[in-house]
């Protein structure tokens, strides 16, 4: 009888309350998302289609943001590059957050040998600076989106693990958890009512910062020509491709820089706190 409700269903998990700054970031991010995914609906230019007769054109009705050095439509390319960056960010954040939180809670809750093993694995992943690890993986499979993605996720999960583990350790030893345990509540209830409300804001911050670093890492690799390969529309790649034409077409070169800036800026706003 008593055991019937021992495992409380994981009903609603509370969302963290957002500050004004975070709301502004979320709004900006939503606008970028809308831009990136809505552009193809009403502007059907192919981001890869070259038109060598109309290179580096100023914005026109046909190409609202102009064309690049190969006559490709800048609006379509910028939107495509944003989709790529956001997709990569989302994918790597999810793959990093899920195991990071899971292992963090387990290590912080259980402690002992399990904690030590997971902690050592995390330390090992951090021994090399993140980008170096990603670079080595990319060297193994050049130009491959998945190599990039695995590398970035491998670096990102540790941050979740560490933060969640540290917080869980403190909470597990706290009177509030002990009190609920004495009152007969099970582990899922303890997670939902005690752990998650404390962890959620930190997870959001980490996710936003993680997404920003994933985007920056991909752009950096593209910029030094070891990331994704042309003709992919990718922000870093677009910058380095358009660099020689900064004099003739400054507006073209400004676009990927501006897009990357707004994207990362909105994510930093969403993260809320200063890094610490």
């Amino acid at each position: 009888m008593m055991q019937a409700t021992l495992i409380a269903p994981l009903r609603r998990l509370a969302w963290p309350a957002l500050s004004t700054r975070q709301r502004a970031g979320a709004l900006l991010l939503a606008l970028l998302l809308a831009f990136a995914w809505l552009v193809p609906l009403w502007h059907d230019a192919d981001p890869a289609r070259q038109q060598l007769v109309r290179i580096l054109e100023l914005p026109t009705l046909a190409a609202p943001l102009g064309t690049d050095h190969l006559g490709r439509d800048m609006l379509a390319r910028t939107a495509a590059a944003l989709r790529l960056s956001l997709g990569m960010a989302l994918l790597s954040v999810v793959t990093a957050a899920v195991p990071g939180i899971l292992f963090g809670v387990i290590a912080g809750w259980r402690g002992g040998w399990l904690d030590r093993i997971l902690g050592s694995v995390a330390d090992a992943c951090l021994a090399l600076p993140g980008l170096l690890l990603v670079l080595l993986l990319v060297a193994i499979a050049p130009g491959n989106f998945w190599a990039l993605y695995v590398g970035i996720s491998l670096v990102l999960w540790i941050e979740y693990f560490r933060v969640v583990r540290a917080r869980t350790r403190v909470l597990v030893a706290s009177p509030q958890l002990e009190a609920s345990r004495l009152l007969g509540f099970g582990p899922l209830y303890l997670f939902r009512r005690h752990l998650w409300p404390e962890l959620a804001p930190q997870v959001l911050t980490l996710a936003a910062f993680g997404a920003a670093s994933a985007i920056l890492a991909m752009a950096a690799l593209g910029f030094v020509s070891v990331g994704l390969r042309p003709p992919t529309a990718e922000l870093g790649l677009m910058m380095i491709e358009l660099l020689p034409y900064y004099h003739e077409a400054p507006w073209a070169m400004a676009q990927p820089i501006l897009a990357l800036f707004v994207l990362v800026f909105s994510l930093n706003l969403l993260a809320g706190k200063d890094p610490r």
């Binding site: 330390d123 021994a127 060297a139 193994i140 920003a212 800026f265």
Partner: protein, 328 residues
């Protein structure tokens, strides 16, 4: 001597806990070597079949390449041996610091690394010093008056800088100082003027973060009970700041430097490439493009070890600054 009088402590006290700290970093260095070795070994195994030919062609010229040359490359990478044995052979070479020869230039890797390391270290040290000159003092000033004008302005500047990747900052600096104003060279190496823009690029990114860390640390210290007590017991603002503010605010800033070195290493890769600075990062990118495995291994190893060394330095400074670390 009124400034920063550190609590007097005997040498033995200072040394306590130091061994564990250094051992830990030594272990990390070993781990770095193993990871780099393993990943580059996997890299040799995934090279496409005609790689030995292509590398040989790259090294000796297309006309000179023959199967003998390709064989020598194959032998160099141990492509003809069974995987497990080759793996241990690979690690054994690494352990003896035998990094082999570059597949592109044919020079011993260690030779090339030696030059590049000097250039990269110079750049990194200059960038860190410059960032320390810019960031923490600004942060300390801002933190003494939270929500003041300086705090607001520096926060906006830091947010903008943090949202721009180092290569974009570098690009903008080139456009401004080299192209528009013509004051400084855009790329190259040799004169002091060449190093200004790359180190400034890196320093700005570092300072954007460290100024905020310093600001938060100082704001926290100035709201602390011990800072208030230092005032009410009669020390005055100047002495309170020097004796109790500075060190306590410096601790998080220095500790955060360790985290910042990740950005520094990453920044070195892109900034060197952008400014054609002949350092390790530049070489690593070139090696990856050319698939020059021994060079990839060498450069990645040196960068990883540089990271460990910088972190060790941070540990030592924290150890010296914070007597709490020396207890227990």
């Amino acid at each position: 001597m009124t400034s920063l009088t550190l609590s007097r402590s005997s040498p033995s006290r200072w040394r306590s806990g130091l061994r564990g700290l250094l051992l830990q970093r030594l272990f990390q260095a070993g781990l770095v070597a193993w990871m780099v070795g393993t990943l580059t070994f996997v890299l040799t195994r995934t090279l496409p079949g005609d790689m030995a030919y292509r590398i040989a062609a790259g090294r000796y010229g297309h006309d000179m390449v023959d199967s003998a040359a390709a064989e020598s490359v194959r032998a160099e990478l141990a492509l003809d041996q069974p995987a497990l044995g080759a793996y241990f052979g690979w690690l054994w070479d690494l352990l003896q610091l035998d990094l082999g020869r570059s597949l592109v230039s044919g020079e011993p890797v260690i030779h090339e690394l030696w030059h590049q390391l000097g250039h990269s270290l110079g750049l990194a040290v200059m960038a860190v010093l410059l960032s320390l000159l810019l960031g923490p003092p600004l942060g300390l000033l801002a933190g003494r008056k939270p929500a003041g004008t300086l705090d607001r302005v520096s926060e906006v500047a830091a947010s903008v800088l943090r949202a721009l990747p180092p290569f974009a900052v570098g690009l903008l600096l080139i456009l401004l100082f080299s192209v528009a104003l013509g004051w400084l060279p855009a790329a190259g190496h040799g004169r002091f003027a060449h190093s200004v823009l790359p180190s400034l690029t890196l320093a700005l990114a570092l300072a954007a973060v460290s100024s905020r860390v310093a600001r938060n640390a100082m704001a926290e210290v100035s709201q602390s009970a011990y800072y208030a007590f230092s005032h009410t017991k009669g020390l005055g603002s100047r002495l309170s700041f020097l004796r109790h503010g500075l060190r306590n605010a410096a601790l998080p800033v220095v500790a955060y430097l360790g985290v910042q070195f990740v950005y520094l290493i990453e920044g070195v890769v892109v900034v060197e490439t952008l400014f054609a600075w002949p350092g390790i990062g530049h070489a690593l990118v070139h090696a990856i493009v050319a698939r020059d495995v021994p060079m990839i291994q060498g450069t990645a190893l040196v960068m990883g070890l540089m990271f460990v060394a910088l972190n060790t330095a941070v540990d030592l400074i924290c150890h010296w600054l914070d007597p709490r670390r020396r207890e227990t």
